[in-house]
């Protein structure tokens, strides 16, 4: 009789632990897989987040920041926007501010730089840095993982 009660308690504990583990796995899965998909959908871009790997946009965006990128059409772009674009050589992305809009290309410059960048084709623009209440949405230090991975 007592043995049956003990076995029942152990079974209940095992079931409870299994349910807890499955719940945690589901939560982690939703956050890891679901959050980027949700951001991609809500910000209308395949690259919803970007890490700042240099100080070229200091002090607006600092090295190690994680910023949100919003997909935009060509007509929505204006001088002063901070945009993300694919580099012409295909190696990585750059986040800089638009200084001039031309017919086929646009010119950008890092705030901390003295020189303009090479002209960027409109089709290479990935998106614009997302703003909340007029301020650039950034998560300090969360981009350092990417910064270290880039350097190694």
């Amino acid at each position: 009789m007592e043995n049956n009660a003990k076995t029942g308690t152990i079974k209940k504990a095992i079931v409870r632990s299994t349910i807890n583990i499955v719940t945690y796995i589901v939560i982690v899965g939703v956050v890891v897989v679901g959050l980027p998909k949700f951001l991609s959908w809500s910000l209308n871009t395949p690259y919803p987040m970007a890490a700042i790997t240099s100080g070229s946009m200091w002090p607006v965006l600092k090295e190690g920041d994680l910023v949100f990128i919003q997909g935009v059409s060509r007509s929505e772009l204006k001088v002063g926007d901070i945009i993300v674009y694919r580099n012409a050589d295909g190696a990585g992305f750059t986040i800089h501010r638009i200084t001039k809009l031309k017919e086929d290309t646009l010119i950008t410059k890092g705030d901390a730089n003295f020189m303009d960048d090479s002209p960027v084709k409109y089709e290479n623009v990935v998106g614009r840095s997302y703003q909340i209440f007029g301020k650039y949405a950034r998560l300090p230090y969360l981009g350092f993982v990417t910064v270290y991975a880039t350097r190694k």
């Binding site: 100080g55 200091w58 090295e63």
Partner: protein
């Protein structure tokens, strides 16, 4: 009957207090722990307690022994202008115009026979403009080295702005565990 019981309790109490005073401070401390925790400490808890205390004092010593430097730079108008203040007490980078940089070197020496792990941490607004040639490294016994701090003034720096911060140089004894 009640008086007799009270007398017995008092007697027991007086004996235990006498025992505590004879055994000294250790016994008093044990008594305090027992009273606070409601049970005597197990050997496992004593070991964990000692480890926590040792770690705390180690961290306290490392923090207290750290070299602290205040660091500052002022942005001035013009091209290629640099004005360095020759102070040894602080990492003063003087006046820099946009596009210029200044370097300060700090000599450190490990005068002990124990190798030290050196960790340099920069804080404040100037920290974002400062590059250090080596942040984390091990300094062997009786070894010397130079650390270079470089501040570059970017195009987006505000004229007449002062950027301040602090640099902490922690020396952690490694006892030969790292190279």
């Amino acid at each position: 009957m009640d008086d007799q019981q009270n007398n017995e309790k008092k007697a027991k109490f007086s004996i235990s207090s006498l025992g505590a005073s004879v055994k000294g401070l250790g016994a008093k401390a044990r008594g305090w722990i027992e009273k606070t925790a409601g049970a005597p400490m197990k050997t496992r808890e004593k070991v964990i307690g000692i480890i926590v205390i040792v770690i705390f004092f180690f961290a306290f010593y490392v923090t207290l022994d750290a070299n602290k430097y205040s660091s500052l730079v002022r942005v001035i108008e013009g091209d290629g202008k640099v004005g360095v203040n020759p102070t040894a007490d602080a990492l003063d980078f003087g006046d820099l115009s946009r596009g210029t940089s200044a370097v300060r070197r700090v000599d450190i020496e490990n005068g002990t026979p124990i190798p030290m792990y050196i960790a340099i941490i920069k804080t404040g607004r100037i920290g974002e403009l400062t590059k250090i040639d080596k942040n984390y490294f091990t300094l062997g016994a009786h070894e010397k080295t130079k650390i270079e701090f470089t501040v570059y003034m970017p195009a987006s720096a505000q004229i007449e702005d002062k950027y301040k911060g602090r640099v902490y140089l922690f020396k952690i004894p490694t006892f030969g565990l790292t190279r």
